[in-house]
Amino acid sequence: MANPAMEPGNGAGAEAVPVHSFLENTGKHKGIFAWILSTDHKRIGILYMISIFSFFAVGVCLGFLMRLEMLVPGPTGKIFNAQEYNALFTLHGVIMMFLFVIPGIPATLGNFFLPIQIGAKDVAFPRINLLSWYLYITGAIIILLSLFGNGLPDTGWTFYVPYSIRTGTDVTMAVFGVFILGFSSILTGLNFLTTIHRLRAPGMTWFRMPLFVWALYATAWIQVIATPVLAITLLLIMVERLFHVGIFNPVLGGDPVLYQHLFWIYSHPAVYIMILPPMGVVSEIVATFSHRTVFGYKMIAMSSLAIAFIGYLVWGHHMFVAGETQTAQFFFSLLTFLVAVPSAIKVFNWVATMYKGSLDLQPPFLFLLAFIMLFCIGGMSGLVLGSLATDVHLTGTYFVVAHFHYIIFGGAIFIFFGALHYWLPKMFGRMYNKKVADWALGILFVGFNMLYFPMFILGYEGMPRRYFAYLPKYETLQHISMVGSWVLITGLIIMFWNLLHGIFKGERCGPNPWGGTTLEWTIPSPPPTENFETIPIVTHEPYYHPEADPEIQREPVPVAK
């Protein structure tokens, strides 16, 4: 097939070829086994998607209940008592972090599109890919088993010692679940790294890779290098609880702050596991809907690696008030400010990509606009927290809660939704209702800001986080925030209903509804099991829009015959 960018929307040719899509081609197993025993990266991506969004639904409900407790100030205990509330925010954090955002885009859309975008038939280790899904499910089940233990864990998702050692609730189970999830993450990471190194199609040089692949590459390195540190830290908590070894227990001479170091050595880079893949998606979407090449391709690619690297150097800013020495505070604050720069560069590049483009305001692009706004607010509030004087005041308050929800929800998850709107037509060959998608985004955007923006103000006023009760002076803002959560959930329900309706009942769309130029748009929708009938030979940059390059002669994409 020729480059569809030259004939946008022309999908008729693809349907004429008698190729079975991966959805129809069940392989040697039947029914559900055709899914849970499949080593096809596309099917595994969808397995991940189903499981991840199920847990997202649970996490959202927990978050909704947490906001509901804010109906009345003070410890009235009308809705939840303290213990219940503490379990709520712990489970909300654990589920959202470890079961949703960290696997998030890499495990779902990364699994699905990484091999296609580099012109491969599958990932390097398809069976390990399936294994990592099983580990994910095992970890999730173990976390859920803590529901039936001695009480729901109530430590917060950070499992800070010595509280996590002392509490009588079932922390061991939850920690063990996260430990298993870590291995799932590691295996995904090493699979992607090997895939990118070994399975690129002929001509797919490093600087011809789509930026989504670059982002996944950087992410995979963090997964491989950082996750083991979390694994050992959690293992130490389990050992501590089971055998009273005393490694972090201050009663036995241990240092609780050392635990925080180890925890954040992983968990700060983990923030970049969450945000780098969405940044990659943004680069894809902005190039496709601007109908021109991205501005500063190499700069964006390199800043992914830079972020992955500098992300390792700043974990200490989570501990500014934990009594770090001034030397550590100096370096960590300085480096924290520097990590802001590559992210800023990316934002500038994305906006510059719109310059002299031909902008097509389709739903994915609108999600991108929302992302840029929310991510800017999130990132810029991070500057306030990176500065020592203000961090001392604001850390541990609602300001931090607002900051990371703007980054992770407003940033990562909004663009995850955008990515769904961008790629679902490719995955299932059907288009959702675009009008409804626009409305859902509008409601989400309003609800999101209503929910989280008041938290910045609450934080500056001194409202600490993880409080099930609050002083009456915070009541108005808490109520605005609570109503915001209802609006947000309405938007989520409309959006998911629209997407599901689109998947099953939507109009059929061609292989390239948006006029994208990367390799996934050259194959039929939904993709065939083997992705490519013939492995393509890549001869040009990923966002090659010949129509935007009148001076360069159009040359067709050669295909191995």
Binding site: A124, I128, A226, P228, V245, G246, L252, I265, E530, T534
Partner: protein
């Protein structure tokens, strides 16, 4: 075209993806061997293991810095003999491991089996020594949470906490490695690992050497403090 070394060259892609080249359509995924890819995956996994132990080494370093005196005090009581013997056992097992790979590369199946069995035997010997060592300690009343230990200074408690944690985790890796080697032995006997295709054995070997390397560092940290 900056094809870096270690990345797949075109001929390799063609080799491992014949379906891709011939254009024939297959209904099932067919996965061909990519030897360098398999090794790359294994190395990345080994790096994660390295980072796993790094966490523990970091904890050790910090506490050693906090409680230098206590650590030296506690270090007197570990058994340098057990440590040295076990180091030598593991180093020798690493040798037999590479020799078994060298043998299969030269097509000498039974020599490979001999070396591989000795590796497994040495791994077992390591565990036996470890067992004797731990029982000596436990007999002396030194184990996590024991009254004898809790009466000692904080640094000593931490030293032994880390001692059990780190050597214990290492012993788990020895057991895991040994189990893998047993599977490899069966593969060699059943000719699933041959002169032509011995990547599995090589990767198992890499894992085994990593276990050895970690011990090389544990040895001075726990047994050679005076």
């Amino acid at each position: 075209m900056n094809q870096k070394s270690g990345d797949r060259t075109l001929s390799e892609i063609a080799e491992t993806n014949p379906g891709a080249v011939s254009g024939e359509h297959e209904s099932e995924h067919v996965h061909h061997k990519d030897v360098v890819g398999a090794k790359m995956g294994m190395w990345l996994f080994l790096l994660t293991e390295l980072l796993l132990f790094t966490g523990l080494f970091l904890v050790y370093a910090v506490y050693r810095y906090y409680y230098t005196k206590d650590f030296q005090l506690a270090g007197y009581d570990t058994h340098i003999l057990f440590g040295t013997v076990n180091t030598m056992i593991l180093i020798t097992s690493s040798l037999t491991m590479v020799l078994s790979i060298a043998a299969i590369q030269r097509g000498k199946k039974w020599l490979c089996v001999t070396f591989l069995s000795s590796t497994i035997g040495l791994a077992l010997a390591f565990l036996v020594v470890k067992y004797v060592e731990w029982s000596t300690e436990i007999h002396a009343g030194i184990y996590p949470g024991s009254p004898t230990l809790l009466n000692k200074p904080d640094g000593v408690v931490l030293f032994y906490g880390l001692y059990y944690m780190m050597t214990g985790l290492h012993a788990l890796h020895v057991i895991a490695g040994m189990s893998i080697l047993v599977v490899m032995l069966i593969f060699v006997l059943r000719d699933k690992i041959t002169q032509e295709d011995h990547t599995k054995l090589e990767n198992a070997g890499l894992y085994w050497h990593l276990v050895d390397i970690i011990w090389i560092f544990l040895f001075p940290l726990f047994y050679l403090i005076n």
